[in-house]
């Protein structure tokens, strides 16, 4: 066992409970665990003890009162001693005293002279009954006492003193015996006092008498004094008291004022720490603004506003004013930022929200909407100007390179396409920003106050205006047919078809993308329909352009005709014109189908029944087809003044006809051939191509242009008739013209009465001519050739009838001969006889006297048989066609 602990130092040596004390000494333990006891003034403080070293312990004093030793106990040394003492006291808290706990600073119940402890109760003898109150733990509840003695009091000095109360309060647990003892005690005391007084008086009679005299004297003096100075001695007393009060006050005033100053300073300090937040706010706002932590600023600001908004403290007001100014600046700044385009919506909404939470007076969101609108309008204009300028530059460059006007691509240029893309992009993106903003604005999310109803229409008008301006610009950009665009097809002439198609598709896609994105926004229908209209118009425009191109190409077909026979169709030999027509129309339609026919989301169909586009389609189709007809007609008419090749009609020149027919295959066609080819083309077109043209319509599900087809058919029929007529005119007329001279060529050789065995040569000539025609026509028209041959036959027959009527056969021989010739002709052209032609022949035959004898009949038959036999080749050639060959 080591030496016991000795405490030789204590710091501080006194203090209220909980004071942190440093205990120093020797042998205070060799380790933390060695320390097993610490008592300060008898209070166990081990719990709070911190063992520092063998010389030092730090602890907190307990709830002890009075002076006492500090006893340290260690395992190693046992219980120790102390050379110093600690004094514990309970801190009384007064107005002058600082305290760690809250003290109600209500004014003490003060008597006029301002001293509290002088209450008479303080002098109540502690125990009038002489009974110990120790162990009297039980306290009688005070409320019950009040109830029992409503007007009583337990205080001995009170006028309404109630012994019952006193006894219950102090001696509720005292036994009856004790109380009786107490009674005796009290009686003795009273008795003793009485006795004491009596004996005192007896012993001091002289003095008492003396005092009595003095009292009388005092009374007299007092009365005299009253007489002299008035009845009231009290004013003097009062003034004296008042004087003393003021003196006391003045004594204390200095200390009080000092205390006041101290209080103020303390208050200011605590204010500073308590409201550190507020004082640091200006700088922290600056800092946060710099760091763009606006949310923090708003938070701080609203907090400050809530806490100090209606403070009366000048200092706070000043700081608040400063803060307000900063916030005002910030608001201005935010507002400007919010207004300054371009800015993305998130950021803008952020600013708006901040402004709202900062109580921005204006309608921030609305301003944002307006500024967005202005920005969009501006942007549109800028886009327009930019591209206009670019175009100008380009055209200038081209001008320097001296390009022809038709090379200008007009509204199909790449620049325009870029323009369209840019404008669409601008519109879509800006509306994408603006509309949600507006929607949230009207939903009340972004507005401090409820929005004016007027705003709804305003917004709508705004959006319509924006879309309108966009649509105008797009129309100007894409659909313009004005001066800059060049003629007809909007300057499309200079653009290759595939480029055009690609541009159209691209532009349309831009427009549609924009439209789509607007659709997604759920815009009102009116602005949507404006955009839709632009798209629709552009589609119509595209369609028209394709159709116009087809028209133009068809018109240009007249130059494309090579007269090279492409195919021997059912309707004769045709060139590739009908095919070209078909393919041109097909191209246009497929382009239309590919590019514009299909409607996008929420677009009206292009070719709605009764719509203008459909009518345009029909109209253009008709124009195109009719243009084709016109081309064909042009081609037939073109070489009118060229000599009609009549040479083949002469019997003598038969050979050459054959030659030329062979030649034509490689060389340029003769006019008749072209005529016939044109005819065939027309017929082919009418019969075949037109039907073919309908197929793409059907395939692409476009309404069929039946009216146009019909009109074209009519026109083509007319053309065919025309061609036939023309052919007849140019081929038949000379042929017919040769009949009469040939008929009379051998007249002087013939005897009127001799019966001839054969027909006259003119019959053979006719047949030969017909064969030539047939050959020509058939070589070109094939199966369709009969028409021409028939027509010519008809005219031939008509001529024969006329001749027969002019020169009736008078002689029997003449009649026989005529009959023979007519019969032979009839036989030869039997396949090509029309009813009319037949009638003509019958008419001619009827004009002849009938054959009256068998011999003649027989001779005629013989001759006919012989003719048949001789002319078999000719007859077959006349009655065959390409196919049978």
């Amino acid at each position: 066992m080591g030496p016991p602990p000795v405490v030789t130092g204590i710091s501080p040596k006194e203090g209220p409970p909980g004071t942190r004390v440093t205990i120093r000494g020797e042998f205070l333990g060799i380790s933390v665990t060695d320390l097993i006891g610490l008592k300060i003034c008898g209070c166990d403080c081990l719990l709070s003890a911190e063992w520092k070293s063998k010389n030092k312990i730090v602890a907190r004093s307990g709830p002890c009162k009075g002076r006492g030793d500090i006893i340290v106990t260690t395992k190693s040394g046992g219980e120790g001693t102390s050379t110093v003492q600690f004094r514990g006291y309970h801190e009384s808290v007064g107005p002058m005293k600082e305290s760690a706990v809250w003290v109600e600073e209500a004014a003490p119940p003060s008597l006029p002279w301002g001293r509290r402890p002088m209450s008479p109760t303080a002098y109540t003898p502690p125990d009038p009954l002489g009974l110990s109150t120790e162990g009297d733990d039980y306290k009688f509840p005070e409320e019950e006492l009040h109830e029992l003695f409503p007007d009583g009091s337990g205080k001995l000095s009170d006028e309404n003193f109630q012994p019952g109360w006193y006894l219950l309060e102090h001696h509720s647990n005292t036994s009856y015996e004790d109380l009786k003892a107490g009674m005796v005690f009290l009686q003795r005391k009273v008795e003793g006092q009485k006795e004491g007084q009596l004996s005192f008086l007896k012993a001091n009679t002289g003095a008492v008498m003396d005092q009595l005299d003095r009292l009388v004297l005092l009374k007299n003096m007092y009365e005299e004094d009253q007489r002299k100075n008035g009845r009231e001695p009290l004013p003097n007393l009062q003034s004296a008291i008042e004087e003393s009060i003021s003196l006391a006050d003045s004594l204390f005033s200095e200390i009080l004022s000092r205390k006041e100053n101290a209080d103020k300073t303390r208050e200011a300090l605590s204010l500073l720490t308590r409201h550190k937040f507020l004082f640091q706010l200006p700088s922290s706002i600056d800092k946060n603004i710099k760091k763009k932590e606006y949310d923090l600023v708003v938070n701080d600001y609203t907090r400050a506003k809530n806490l100090f908004g209606n403070t009366d403290v000048k200092l706070f007001q000043k700081i608040l004013a400063e803060i307000d100014k900063k916030i005002e600046d910030l608001k201005e700044n935010l507002f400007n930022r919010m207004k300054t385009m371009p800015i993305n919506v998130q950021e803008q909404t952020k600013y708006i929200r901040l402004l709202i939470s900062l109580n921005w007076d204006g309608d921030a969101a609305w301003t944002a909407i307006l500024s967005r609108k202005d920005y969009l309008m501006n942007l549109m204009n800028k886009v327009k100007e930019h591209f206009k300028k670019k175009e100008e530059q380009e055209s200038n460059e081209k001008g320097r390179r001296k390009l022809r006007d038709w090379e200008c691509e007009g509204s199909w240029s790449a620049t325009r396409a870029d323009w369209c893309g840019a404008a669409c992009g601008a519109l879509a993106s800006e509306l994408h920003a603006l509309w949600p903003l507006a929607r949230r604005y009207f939903a009340g999310e972004l507005a401090g106050q409820p929005t004016l109803p007027q705003r709804h229409t305003d917004l709508k008008e705004m959006i319509i205006a924006m879309v309108e301006s966009f649509s105008e610009q797009m129309r100007g950009c894409l659909i313009c047919t004005g001066a800059s665009g060049g003629a007809g097809a909007g300057g499309a002439a200079g653009v290759a078809a595939d480029v055009l198609r690609a541009r159209l598709v691209a532009n349309l896609r831009h427009l549609r993308d924009a439209y789509d994105s607007l659709l997604k926004l759920d815009l009102p229908s009116q602005p949507l329909s404006i955009v839709e209209k632009v798209i629709f118009d552009y589609r119509v425009h595209g369609m028209t352009v394709f159709l116009q191109r087809a028209h133009k190409r068809v018109k240009g077909l007249s130059e494309k005709e090579t007269w090279k026979i492409e195919e021997f169709s059912d309707y004769g030999a045709i060139t590739n014109l009908p095919h070209l027509l078909e393919s041109y129309v097909n191209d246009a339609l497929s382009a239309i189908h590919k590019c514009v026919l299909r409607s996008g989301r929420r677009e009206s169909p292009l070719l709605a029944a009764g719509g203008e586009p459909l009518a345009a389609l029909q109209r253009h189709t008709q124009h195109t087809l009719l243009a084709f007809v016109a081309v064909l007609r042009d081609l037939t008419m073109h070489h009118e003044d060229q000599d009609f090749n009549n040479t083949s009609l002469s019997v003598a020149l038969d050979q050459r006809l054959e030659e030329s027919a062979v030649e034509t295959v490689s060389a340029g066609r003769s006019w008749q051939q072209r005529l016939l080819i044109a005819g065939a083309n027309a017929q082919y077109t009418r019969r075949r191509t037109l039907a073919n043209i309908l197929t793409p319509f059907e395939n692409y599900e476009m309404p069929k242009p039946l009216q146009a087809i019909q009109a074209t058919k009519d026109e083509l029929s007319a053309l065919e008739d025309n061609i036939a007529e023309m052919y007849l005119e140019h081929k038949g007329d000379p042929l017919v013209g040769t009949i009469e001279p040939s008929m009379y060529m051998g007249r002087h050789h013939t005897d009127a009465d001799t019966l001839l065995d054969d027909a006259r040569p003119y019959v053979y000539e006719i047949i030969n001519n017909l064969i030539a025609v047939h050959a020509e026509v058939d070589s070109v028209c094939g199966a369709a050739s009969s028409r021409y041959v028939r027509d010519i036959c008809e005219t031939v027959c008509e001529e024969l009838a006329r001749l027969a009527a002019c020169a009736p056969a008078r002689s029997r021989a003449a009649a026989f001969q005529a009959r023979l010739e007519y019969s032979l002709l009839r036989l030869a052209v039997a396949d090509h006889l029309t009813r009319k032609a037949e009638n003509y022949l019958m008419e001619a035959l009827a004009g002849l006297p009938p054959l009256d004898n068998e011999e003649d009949k027989k001779r005629l038959d013989n001759i006919i048989q012989g003719f048949k036999k001789r002319m078999e080749l000719q007859l077959t050639s006349l009655n065959c066609n390409m196919e049978t060959v």
């Binding site: 030789t8 204590i10 710091s11 040596k13 440093t22 120093r24 050379t83 003492q85 002098y123």
Partner: protein, 242 residues
Amino acid sequence: MRVNRRVVIQFTVYAFHIKLRVDANCLTMRTLKVCAAAASAMSKKPAAQPTLHKVIMVGSGGVGKSALTLQFMYDEFVEDYEPTKADSYRKKVVLDGEEVQIDILDTAGQEDYAAIRDNYFRSGEGFLCVFSITEPESFDATQEFREQILRVKNDENIPFLLVGNKSDLGDKRRVPLDACRERAHAWQVPYVETSAKTRDNVDKVFFDLMREIRSRKSDDSRAANGNVRDKVKRRKIKCAIL
């Protein structure tokens, strides 16, 4: 006026009451005191306790009073400054071969605690008036302390040492040695320079002071034993209370 008059009447009535009771109590109080004195005289029979010398450390805040005390008491030097309120130390030491007890009261230098000084000073038998030689203000303050001590103790020859502390900080010295000596001379007290840090002169000041106290006590006891020789020398102002 009516109210005032009533108040005054009440006041007189109370005053009367009080007078009666005070008279009654006076008797009992007096007897009690006598009894208590008797009892204490009986129980506090001086045991074999060595003589106790009560030393009080005075001086401005931060001059090193606590440092000196702790150095003397426990041979340790405290580097950090923790203002004192009032600390008490007591231990046995051997003074010139005689075992005595030294009781050191380390007081607060800080102005905050100035009010409680009077009480403490009263119990002191000797004073170490400390200042820091690096701090002229603390040197100036010694004047005030001296006056306060004389006022409270009412004795010009109270054992007193003027101590210039922090002598280890010679390079920072701002109170000239001459000034210190001059003042000590004027007060007729010894002047010693110490360093709580290096323990230079620490024991010396305490032991010197105890010697002074011891000699004062022996003087006093001689005086009490009827030797009136020194009575004239001590200009003790008698209390006027009868």
